[in-house]
């Protein structure tokens, strides 16, 4: 009963979003919302079943499904209201991820044993400010500014700031850390802001496939391990269980990554009919499948890249904000890679 009560708010938000979408006659987004709700209901049923059978995964799957309800509801509500609300939501997402990144890095004055210095604070503030600046550029559809803001002007302004601060010791490292995070979360993830301009459905396509790829990777990984454990010693077993980067994550195998990417591609194919004609051209199913494959592969590596960052910093999760999921970066790590690629693919092909 307590569990059901927690779902009241997300369910109400989803109902509101669905009603708004229906009122505006957005059939495709409404269909997607219903699909997402069906998936959530399915996983809620699965977690109830797991709890009933007292399976070891039960608590984990339940907590994550609950958080999924919230994330999906907030995300879809943001897109069912005013255009500005969607931008503010995405901007806040980028800001939170960036803040989590900077908070993960230890800060201290003694050079050598710490990563950031207290003198990096002004540059970090500047890094945060690139988010509202990018948001504005995307909102007014000023692509030329949007695309140079972070990688050229923020990138050049930070070292100037360092010079004005008269820094030497550790400057190069601080510069690298600050630029890296800003490129990842304000620029790459920030492409979500410009992606809205190509149509909300294109953004949904990317977000939905990236997140579903994450979920699928979990079950595909488990399934493949079960298959491999039944195989005898041999080439097939070696091939199927070959990890991509065993030190980062021994459980992420080439076979699992490829299978999930192909599944993502098939799912993308199924989503193509929901995509509206872009610039008057209906989306080619083959192109949709290719974009899905790109999302599948890049999402896989996004996961591993932030796995690497976490291992380097000796943390398990990037935060504790999302119950059962860890932090925000744990949730958006795939998007950092898939969002810019989706944007470029669609922009190149249809605009």
């Amino acid at each position: 009963m307590k569990r059901l009560k927690k779902l009241l708010l997300p369910a109400a938000l989803l109902a509101f979003a669905g009603w708004e979408m229906g009122r505006r006659g957005e059939g495709a987004t409404l269909a997607l919302l219903l699909g997402v709700t069906a998936l959530l209901l399915f996983f809620t049923a699965v977690s109830a079943l797991l709890r009933w059978k007292k399976a070891s995964l039960a608590e984990e799957v339940s907590a994550r499904t609950e958080t999924w309800w919230f994330m999906a509801a907030v995300f879809l509500t943001a897109f069912a209201t005013h255009r500005l609300v969607s931008f503010l939501f995405l901007g806040f997402l980028c800001f939170s991820a960036l803040r989590e990144y900077f908070s993960l890095l230890p800060m201290g004055e003694k050079a050598g044993d710490k990563t950031l210095s207290f003198r990096d604070r002004p540059s970090i503030l500047l890094a945060y400010l690139t988010v509202p600046a990018s948001l504005w550029a995307a909102y007014v559809r000023w692509y030329e500014l949007f695309i140079i803001l972070v990688p050229v002007y923020f990138f050049l302004l930070t070292p100037i700031l360092f010079v004005v601060q008269d820094r030497t010791e550790g400057a190069l490292r601080s510069l690298g850390m600050v630029s890296l995070g800003t490129l990842f979360f304000a620029f790459c993830l920030g492409h979500a802001l410009f992606l809205v301009n190509l149509g909300a459905m294109v953004l949904f396509f990317c977000f939905f496939l990236t997140e579903l790829r994450d979920v699928a990777a979990f079950w595909v990984g488990g399934g493949l391990r079960a298959v491999v454990s039944r195989l005898g010693e041999g080439t097939l077993r070696r091939v199927l269980s070959r990890p991509v980067a065993p030190t980062i994550n021994p459980r992420k195998t080439w076979a699992g990554g490829l299978t999930t990417a192909v599944l993502t591609s098939l799912l993308a194919l199924a989503l193509v009919p929901l995509l509206p004609p872009l610039n008057g051209t209906p989306v080619d199913p083959l192109f949709g499948a290719a974009a899905g494959l790109a999302i599948g592969v890049l999402g896989f590596f996004g996961d591993l890249v932030f796995g690497m960052v976490k291992r380097d910093l000796h943390v398990k999760d990037t935060g504790t904000l999302l119950q059962g999921h860890g932090g925000i970066i744990d949730r958006v790590n795939g998007l950092v890679f898939t969002v810019p690629a989706t944007f470029h693919l669609f922009y190149w092909r249809y605009f």
Partner: protein, 217 residues
């Protein structure tokens, strides 16, 4: 009015610093004790009290710093500051306004370090908190560890910069329990004990355990 302003402040703390007071202080009267690194700390500790009771909470502040000017006025309006002199040589007399407030049933926010100091360094606790706990043995005291706050606005910093801040409220203690542990007239030991608990929570692992790469659905 004060409750509305504090509500707005809490919203800002949540949006900018991701700071949530997970378990609020439910007692009618309580003393909240925290580590002190920035001007944000008092806002964070106030967020532990339910909004409807914010009018009955006071912050204990240094007279030389918060006694005058715009800073003093703002502090008085927002936190109903109780001003005490620093280094007066007579700690018992200096605490008199604080005692009166406790007798009136008001709650307190106290920073026993007495100053913000170096970022991330927990200074020794002044023993005043110990003598208050001996004098009011039944009033619950909550040590609170403010984690990550030293990066947001260290002493000398001009602008607050967003970083994730965690408000970790520790289990309550009372003067009675402390007296049972240390015996009577042990205000220094009590202050040290509070400091030890906060220091432990500050040093505690954020993400416990080694990591062997996990998949997450």
């Amino acid at each position: 009015m004060r409750a509305a302003v504090h509500g707005l402040i809490r919203l800002l703390l949540l949006l900018l610093f991701g700071a949530r007071a997970g378990d609020p202080v439910e007692d009618e009267q309580a003393v909240v004790v925290g580590n002190h690194d920035t001007h944000l700390d008092v806002f964070l500790l106030f967020s532990l009290f339910p909004l409807r009771r914010v009018g009955k909470v006071r912050a204990v502040a240094a007279e030389d710093y918060f006694g005058k000017g715009l800073r003093g006025l703002l502090a008085r309006l927002l936190f109903r500051t109780l001003l005490i002199p620093r280094g007066s040589g007579d700690p018992l007399k200096a605490l008199e306004p604080v005692r009166q407030a406790l007798r009136r049933g008001e709650s307190l926010v106290v920073f026993p370090e007495g100053t913000r100091g170096e970022p991330g360094v927990l200074l020794p606790f002044k023993s005043g908190i110990g003598s208050l706990m001996e004098e009011f043995p039944r009033i619950p005291v909550y040590p609170v560890a403010l984690r990550g706050v030293e990066r947001t606005l260290p002493k000398g910093g001009v602008f607050p910069v967003p970083f994730v801040v965690e408000i970790r409220r520790l289990p309550r203690v009372t003067g009675e329990e402390m007296a049972a542990k240390f015996g009577p007239s042990c205000r220094k030991a009590i202050a040290q004990e509070l400091r030890r608990r906060i220091a432990e929570a500050l040093a505690g692992e954020e993400n416990p355990g080694p990591c062997a790469g996990e998949d997450r659905p």
